[in-house]
């Protein structure tokens, strides 16, 4: 019964006019930016993070969540209609675009919209049920356990995000080092500030996010000379009853798969879509049609995508560990607003936590009632040439960065990280693990030093405590497995 009471509290909080407005704005703006080529949820959130600064905490978090799933939906629209995907909608390109070629764009978009709604609704039930339970487990964690958990998260995420554990891990470590720039909280020592006063408080999160994701992504698009053809076709949205009946089972399967994959460390929407698509190919009644424009190929992955996007909030809000780069940015937004995600979040900010959960469902409704009918207007965004659009995006970046502290130094830092982000990209080093390292690095140092202080410098504390011992043992197995794979791969390349 607690869950219902809590959800009622959440809805009471989320259904205020102000929060409804922020939720709607987030969904609409997220969808619009998500439609733009090359700008997925990650870039969209990083670009729009500064505009939430002047908004109250609950409103800004609700708006950011709206931006997140709005951007995901926008992303799937561009994938279905123009085969321009980002990470969040790679699979939508397969059957979605095939449906467009068959003149069924409207049906594909309706399927994606309604499946996302089903996926999101099921995931919210999972989120509301599991988060408090996981939060209680989180209270059992001591400094050594947190330290081990963070190390474990680093390794898992580095591996999943980039494919190459060495590169991912290197980027995580660079992120940790960047996170240490500024004043050491224990000794007051300035570290890596190069005697620049504006670095005393550290490097701004927004500057890194905008530089490494936003600006690097824009330059990548400019380098690739991506040319777009505006979509001018007719759109018929509503499906027939037999078509509608085909959506439901696939969406339900996708929701279950997505809800589960979203919780796993390093999981999230991208893996969930692939898993759901694979499941449809195996179990669907129409499996032979999948790959050639089948409704099931769109419904399953869209539901899984949305479900995983919701349940990936569970590790963040229950134990304070962001499981992917988008969640790392969301965590940044929480911290900027003075809310520390973790086991205590539900106890200290119940209105915020449950309000956010409820707003996710409201956001879902907004996506269906606003975006599905308005999709034909959204597509006109493609008619704005990128050469006009990108100076405007840079302008918003500059104004946003400046307005954080009313400081132009932040713009210089953003420009510097734009260059660094570009170099990373060209060297095949993904910026996502860097973000994770940057956020968790200072906490890892704090817990590491605290654990060793309590144990008087005895490293045994990391191995003798049950939680940290288990996590480190798992980590050991994981590293051994990776090392073996690395040597086998090197040997194979050398022989070839």
């Amino acid at each position: 019964m607690d869950i219902f009471q809590n959800l009622a509290l959440g809805f009471e909080h989320a259904l205020t006019i102000q929060n409804l407005m922020y939720c709607a704005i987030g969904c609409v703006v997220g969808t619009l930016i998500g439609l733009l080529p090359g700008l997925g949820p990650l870039s969209t959130i990083s670009l729009l993070l500064p505009i939430t600064y002047s908004i109250p905490t609950d409103g800004s978090l609700i708006m950011l969540a709206g931006i997140y799933y709005g951007a995901q939906y926008g992303d799937s629209v561009s994938a279905i209609t123009m085969k321009i995907p980002h990470a969040a909608s790679i699979v939508a390109c397969i059957d979605g675009y095939q449906m467009t070629l068959k003149g069924k764009t409207g049906l594909a978009l309706f399927t994606a919209g309604i499946s996302s709604f089903i996926g999101g609704t099921i995931a919210i039930v999972v989120l509301a049920t599991l988060s408090p339970a996981l939060g209680e487990v989180g209270l059992l964690f001591g400094p050594a356990d947190y330290c081990a958990l963070m190390l474990f998260g680093f390794f898992c995420v580095s591996f999943v995000t980039t494919g190459s554990i060495l590169n991912g891990l290197a980027m995580t470590l660079i992120g940790v080092l960047l996170g240490l720039i500024g004043t050491d909280v224990n000794s007051g020592q300035m570290r890596f500030t190069m005697n620049l006063p504006f670095l005393m408080d550290g490097v701004g999160l927004i500057s890194i996010a905008l530089g490494c994701f936003g600006i690097a992504e824009i330059v990548k698009n400019l380098d690739e000379h991506t040319e777009l053809t505006p979509f001018n076709g007719e759109i018929k949205l509503m499906p027939t009853w037999p078509e509608f009946k085909r959506i439901i089972p696939s969406a339900l399967r996708g929701s279950v798969i997505g809800s589960f994959m979203g919780i796993l460390p390093g999981g999230g929407p991208v893996l969930a879509q692939f898993a759901a698509y694979a499941a449809e190919k195996r179990f669907s009644k129409y499996k032979d049609e999948i790959g050639y424009g089948a409704i099931e190929g769109v419904a399953g992955q869209a539901a899984a995508d949305e479900a995983a996007a919701r349940t990936s909030f569970i590790p963040l809000m229950a134990i304070g560990i962001p499981e992917n780069a988008v969640m790392a940015l969301m965590m940044a937004a929480f911290i900027v607003k003075g809310v520390q995600p973790g086991p205590n979040m539900i106890a200290t900010h119940p209105d915020l936590f449950w309000g956010l959960v409820a707003s996710m469902w409201i956001g879902n409704v907004f996506l269906v009632i606003l975006n599905v009918p308005l999709v034909r207007y959204w597509l006109s965004v493609f008619k704005i040439p990128f050469s006009v659009l990108f100076p405007s995006i840079l302008f918003f970046c500059c104004v946003g960065t400046f307005s954080i502290n009313n400081s132009l130094d932040d713009v210089y830092i953003t420009a510097t990280f734009g260059l660094i982000g570009y170099i990373f990209m060209r060297l095949g080093l993904e910026a996502a693990p860097l973000m994770l390292g940057f956020i968790l690095g200072p906490m890892l140092e704090e817990y590491f030093r605290r654990a060793l202080l309590l144990s008087r410098g005895n490293f045994g504390t990391f191995f003798t405590r049950p939680i940290s011992g288990t996590l480190l043992a798992l980590l050991g197995v994981f590293i051994a497995w990776q090392l073996i794979a690395f040597f086998l791969e090197s040997r194979k390349s050398a022989i070839a």
């Binding site: 570290r191 713009v411 060793l452």
Partner: protein, 140 residues
């Protein structure tokens, strides 16, 4: 030297040395009472090892050339830095015009006339932010 794997390894080693050598300038302490230099030194050490592993790996795998084009990134960075510099020394309105005007040169189909139009358009948007939405922008 145009080998992606090798350059990546050298780049990682360079970053680790930059942070690692600096961290030895701070008090290291011991594990029971860690100084501000200990943790960064440990992290830099790990990064150094990964960098070295990448360099060694680069010797055994087929070289991959680096694909780069510095034209666009230079234009964008100069535009951003120029915006900050001009805003600091002249005013932000001129800075915004410079940002939009110069960044537009990174686009494929740009022309002087169009770049000026974009510059003026975004300057007007900034004025809208300042005077209609009361955003704290020191435009003049």
């Amino acid at each position: 030297m145009n080998n992606l794997n090798l350059v990546r390894g050298v780049f990682l080693v360079a970053i680790s040395l930059a942070f690692g050598l600096t961290s030895f300038g701070y008090k290291i302490g011991d594990f029971s009472r860690a100084g501000p230099g200990l943790f960064p030194a440990v992290v830099s050490g790990l990064l150094f090892l990964i960098g070295i592993a990448s360099v060694i790996k680069a010797r055994y795998v087929k070289p991959v050339p680096i694909d780069y084009n510095f034209r666009n990134i230079v234009i964008i960075i100069v535009s951003l830095a120029g915006f900050a510099f001009i805003s600091e020394h002249i005013n932000m309105l001129v800075g915004i015009f410079f940002l939009a005007f110069s960044a537009s040169y990174a686009g494929r189909n740009n022309s002087l006339k169009r770049n000026i139009k974009i510059g003026i358009g975004l300057s007007l948007v900034a004025c809208g932010f300042k005077f209609l939405l009361h955003l704290n922008l020191p435009l003049i």
